[in-house]
Symmetry: C2
Subunit: 260 residues, 2 copies
């Protein structure tokens, strides 16, 4: 028997703030056949609120440094404002969305990142996905909407990168579902020239990724996204696509593949 289909879409802050583009992307997503999970990042609302509350944003290697004040802000903005607005929007589009943090239903268990050279504060590295709970939600025809918050089961909420959450869900659910994952960025996908949106690489295998990384064509924030994506492919996800709002609507983007 073939595995049931599962589409996992990760969307970021800028898209969430663009009402029209967001609507188009969600509409296209909802038309896909099979189970669906949405994962969302935060964006500038958290930074804006942090500014007003005089909590400075600290970033290291593209990741937010999470002190206690910052943690409270991201919980409010990610798990509160953005998550619930997305859920209400999906509900208005006829989808029975359920907003979740990793604490809800113990869906995503993590631990506070071990301090080696950098103390990321309340950043959570994922240990386990509660696939039983998530499957129960999918079976009940609901659409889980995950924000980038996890917990450690000792009462501590943690801030976890949304790309990592999407990739981890893709891996954890690949055993029982035919997983198609879409990481929706701003650009149309992985570009051979970052300044030329038409230089989209339609297909990327791991060896080529390593080479492009070495020569500097792929750099900065794209690297952890692709590391995540290739790991999902490696763990059995059927398809991982790096795309942008426009290319997602055209079912295009950069499709990751194993070597060979």
């Amino acid at each position: 028997m073939s595995k049931p289909k599962l589409h996992i879409l990760k969307i970021g802050g800028r898209l969430i703030e663009n009402e029209e583009a967001l609507h188009q992307v969600l509409h296209h997503f909802l038309q896909k056949d099979g189970n669906k999970i949405l994962v969302h990042g935060g964006g500038k609302r958290a930074s804006e609120l942090g500014q007003i509350l005089q909590v400075p944003v600290k970033m290291i290697e593209g990741r937010r440094l999470t002190d206690e004040a910052t943690l409270e802000i991201v919980i409010m903005v990610y798990a509160g404002l953005i998550n619930k607005k997305l859920v209400a929007k999906l509900q208005s589009m006829g989808s029975n969305a359920v907003g979740l943090s990793g604490a809800d239903g113990n869906a995503i268990l993590a631990h506070k990142r071990i301090v080696k050279t950098i103390d990321y504060g309340f950043a959570g590295d994922i240990d386990q996905v509660n696939t039983t709970f998530i499957k129960a939600l999918l079976t009940a025809h609901t659409l889980p909407v995950f924000c980038a918050i996890t917990h450690d089961k000792n009462g501590q909420l943690l801030n976890t990168n949304a790309d990592t959450i999407a990739a981890t869900l893709s891996k954890a659910l690949a055993k029982e579902f035919e997983v198609n994952s879409y990481f929706c960025l701003e650009k149309n996908g992985v570009l051979s020239d970052p300044n030329d949106d038409d230089s989209l690489i339609p297909q990327l295998d791991f060896t080529t990724f390593q080479a492009l990384k070495k020569e500097g064509t792929i750099s900065d924030g794209m690297i952890p996204k692709l590391d995540n994506g290739f790991e999902a492919i490696d763990k059995g996800a059927k398809e991982v696509v790096i795309c942008g709002p426009a290319s997602f609507l055209r079912n295009e983007g950069t499709k990751l593949s194993k070597n060979g």
Copy 2:
């Protein structure tokens, strides 16, 4: 066949902010036999955040007037910070809590309150409870934790009084569950002398309530709470108790009953 037990506990802002009392109340709640639902209010965090963001709090008849800026604040604080912290805490206590707004799983459908003499803004009056979804969560041995946010299924989130949510859930689930509801305030229950905590009325029927209301013994914020409680009793809830953190731990408080 007897109906399965369901305990619904509503807790307010002050209790949530008192870590030790909160722990005791939740611990006592978790020891109760059968299904459980927690409903929580907001408290001063929303007002504090509103002050910093320079959104003034407007109250009419004990209810918060909800303009758009206030709505965003209560979504952040209720559905975000407080809800997720409670869920993480319950998870650490061994309970598989799932935090919900009324938008999640279309759990609580409401409409923006009709403007008669007062415009309450984005205040939601409840139309329907999705008992199928809530029963599925209970069957999966999870503990739903509701914040005081609902939605209208047209994409609009709404602010709904937490007591009303607890009472409405009690009514909606009374057909299929033996519902015991606890409204946990600061005082030990309904007092015959508001200044004397020992003047607890252990049992209160509807006729006596009306009489005490008329003579002014019961006034202000207690009236809508009792209206809600008596409505739940009337619609089939087995027991409704108005209590405080201390009396809840002693299984005491004011038990509401039908006349006679």
